[in-house]
């Protein structure tokens, strides 16, 4: 999985204020409304895929493509919510966004053993350890995000190391999501890089 977010040399102060004050209404609510229905569809496909992987050892390609597109959409939204990119996130599953690239190669084969392992014991060896570390990382991400808000407001730039760290948090979450939604057999590393 590869997530790279373009670092903007300068951010718009106007957009930052607009997003911070009215973002809930004109970005989060409309996108979340549609994403809610798509997430229900995604859950259905994930459930069906679980059985398909169990019997055939591969994730249906069309289902996989849909899941990747949905992840791209949610990433597009998250980048704006966390003020990591300017511009309004476009609606649609097939839309391209200049601010980031998210490539998730399709795995031809998936292990049935790993599928069962993560289904029954994933909460112990994936969710708990990653959840604990990510919890503290998320706190730090929120703090950096808050500080970055003021930095952008007064200087127009987002400190690059903070930007990388916060993108790393998103990347970590995505890897965890991929593993637990049976889209990858690669155990997520304890790193945002």
């Amino acid at each position: 999985m590869n997530l790279s977010v373009r670092y903007q040399e300068s951010f718009s102060r106007g957009e930052l204020l607009l997003r911070s004050i009215f973002g809930l209404f004109y970005i989060i609510l409309p996108h979340t409304f549609i994403l809610l229905f798509l997430s229900i569809w995604s859950s259905i496909l994930t459930f069906i895929s679980w059985w398909i992987i169990l019997f055939t050892g591969s994730y249906p390609e069309s289902f996989y493509e849909f899941q990747v597109k949905l992840l791209r959409w949610s990433t597009r939204l998250n980048l704006r919510v966390y003020n990591l990119a300017d511009g309004y996130p476009a609606f649609g599953l097939d839309v391209q966004d200049e601010s980031f690239t998210l490539d998730i190669p399709y795995p031809e084969r998936l292990s049935r053993g790993t599928l069962l392992l993560k289904s029954f014991f994933g909460i112990f060896y994936v969710v708990f350890p990653h959840g604990i570390v990510l919890y503290f990382r998320l706190i730090w991400t929120m703090i950096l995000g808050f500080l970055a808000f003021w930095s952008v407001l007064f200087t127009g730039s987002y400190p690059q190391s903070w930007h990388e760290f916060n993108v790393g948090t998103l990347r970590w979450g995505l890897r965890l999501n991929l593993y637990m939604s049976f889209m990858s057999d690669q155990y997520p590393p304890f790193s945002g890089k």
Binding site: W41, S43, I44, F63
Partner: protein, 163 residues
Amino acid sequence: MEYHEIEQPNDLTKKEKEDAMGAYLMMFASVGAGLPLPIINLIASIVYFIINKGKSRFVKFHSYQSLLSQFPTTVINAVGVFWAVQIFLLDNYEVTDIFKGYVLMAVVLNLVYFIFSIVGAVKARKGLMYYFIFFGKLSYHYAYAKSPTSEVAKVIQNVPPKL
């Protein structure tokens, strides 16, 4: 009525076979969505059909067959759920022999539907056609019947003026 030639397993891609198989597995949609309502399966089948009807005829056939077979199952299950709610939650009716018979019938029909769908899914994954009773012919006709060519349509539509 003329029909398009049916694809053979080797003519189909893995993706097409998987898409066709997925149609039958929409019977698990309500479990996947976490909403145990019969209508969810029907909605999922409709959505799946709409998404896939533009793909190959093979996928279109299986999606349509799965959707058609979903209708009676959904109606039977919905009536059963409604009846059960009236009896057990609202106390409007009592458990009668007719209700017991209906539940038994619903269980048997669901079992038949489940077996047919699983067999359909397995066949579709292998790139094979599988015809359900009644719905099979309808779906075949829908997916493979040749529509009148535009040339014929033009002849029918454009007629000389009445003199």
